[in-house]
Symmetry: none
Subunit: 186 residues, 4 copies
DNA sequence: AATGAATGAGACTTCATTCAT
DNA sequence: TATGAATGAAGTCTCATTCAT
């Protein structure tokens, strides 16, 4: 029957969303299963019907988040009037706003090697991919030392993202525009 | 007696250093007091003679680390032949290399609000100070929109630092130079 | 309707058999209801339509197993050419081989008072009955101190059974023959 | 200082003894750490200062118990006036009475493969050793088929032990004597 | 009759902290 | 000052059991 399936999906979804929110706000280690269950309005043990452990729940959140982001980037399509670089930055800004919880979680765990280990590979691939994209875009724009420039640009974007995620009132759009101008005017 | 005082300081110092190292490598939450004591070669309870709690030990590490950094920046003096901006970036690079443990700890806890709360004010002050410095330097260099530019430059520096701290083989010097050139050539 | 009745019995039977197998292999406590249901190919909750609890299922297994054994002993009839003792031992050997799962479960729980409590009486009766039988048989054979001898013989048989159940390659037939000879030759 | 060492040993000892008693009475799985601590009059967590897990505590109990038994057998020395067989059986009877808790625990776990796994080797060695001893003794006594006879005798002794451990009023001495007579008179 | 999502008590274990020595 | 045995709250996870469908 469908009913059961729907119920399952609904419970799973509310658990993932609640967990993402709490992990993001208070940290992964500082958030207890009891807290998640309570906030989600379900019983303590329900999580274990869907995830084999707290860590597995985290990994699922990662997987879903990454899929989401890649989907967004893919969907955004090729730049038309605007340069690829501008498009990339704007898209990043958009995603930062839309998935703030996810990004915050990602940043908060970035330095926890023990936790990141299971997804380290995917993360690294993602990083390499972004850097390669940036490099291509920079080469198209005829920049010298595109390798180093890509690293620098990536750092700028990442740093901006970090500051936005840490600061409630960060003028993300303005800083992003400033960055875009740096790379599009001569 | 002097002897006692010295012993006290020595014990305290070894605890702070060991804790910084372990917190940085394995994470604050993942490091137990027992581990610190064991690694430091002292008894389990000794820490509580000097710090009222694990958190207080962390805060002391923060305070000492910040003092250290401010000291370094102050000592480096005014720029002479080189621009203030260049000097700031180079000094940052230098400190990143020298105090890697401390920076890594800082970055790994940056998003843990519950932990950062007690030092949030000092951290914010430090951030404001750096941003103000950068702004001054940019104004001197006659840059438009120095406010936004300062935010962007800070993000670039911070992003670069983050990538360096995350990546064993990051070409920090090269990226830093690239950044310096961006802000010193016309 | 008959159909329903049949279905009921079938489900019950498969649950009992699966549970016996798993309890015997992995232990009563270490076997979960979920495991039994999964192995039996039925839903998690089905068991509770037939048994009020996990313990009740165990008791049913005991009851059925004992009934089975008594049936076998009854059916085997009186000894003809051979002595009653020989017959008893051979019958026991036969049953040990046929109902290995049941015997193993019985032995594995024999010392768990809390679990055995509900069937303690039946078990004790069974033991008394066997001992009485053995005593009768020994008296017929004209043995001195038949009471003690019955206890000793029972211990020998039980010990042999235990060793057989514990050891994949136990030479049950040979040891049983040795035992038979001890009590049939002069 | 000695004081600390003594305290350690004392705590460890009371934990081992309490655990042995409870495991033996109620079963290993059915006994919780909380129960042990409570019965021992110590805090819940103390056990983990001495044993890394509940299972490790069990293994320590095994090791100590086995050592104890081997010690006893070794100490009992060679038989003088009496036959080796008689001596062996009497010594076993003695140990059964003295270490009832330990034997009961051993018997109650004998069929739990998952739990016995870590000590399976030692147990098997012990079994082999006993069987070899019995065989030697039987050969000395000029018995036919000493291999099978050893197995049978071992089964008898083990079965007797089991019945004694299960039954508060088992006439162990009498049954043992009966067994001795079986193997010492012609 | 059958299903399986949901519940929550309770198990094992960790670890910051206390305190007698 | 230094030690480390002892404490117990709190965490993760399991699992028998319930009940709406």
């Amino acid at each position: 029957m469908k009913k059961t399936e729907e119920k399952r999906e609904k419970s799973k979804k509310i658990l993932v969303e609640t967990a993402l929110s709490l992990f993001s706000e208070n940290g992964y280690e500082a958030t207890s299963i009891r807290q998640i269950a309570s906030e989600a309005g379900v019983s303590l043990g329900l999580m274990y019907n869907y995830f084999s452990s707290k860590e597995e729940l985290l990994l699922e959140i990662f997987r879903l988040g990454y899929k989401d982001i890649q989907h967004s980037f893919a969907k955004s399509g090729k730049p038309e009037g605007t340069s690829a670089l501008k498009q990339h930055i704007l898209q990043t800004v958009q995603l930062l706003k839309e998935k703030k919880h996810f990004w915050r979680l990602l940043h908060s765990l970035r330095f926890q090697r023990n936790i990141m280990a299971p997804v380290a590979l995917e993360v690294q691939e993602q990083i390499n991919y972004v850097e390669a994209q940036l490099k291509d875009n920079l080469m198209e724009a005829g920049v010298h030392a595109p390798d180093l420039e890509a690293k620098l640009l990536f750092a700028s974007i990442d740093g901006m993202a970090m500051h936005y995620l840490l600061n409630e009132n960060y003028p993300l759009d303005e800083v992003a525009n400033q960055l875009i101008q740096k790379y599009t005017t001569h």
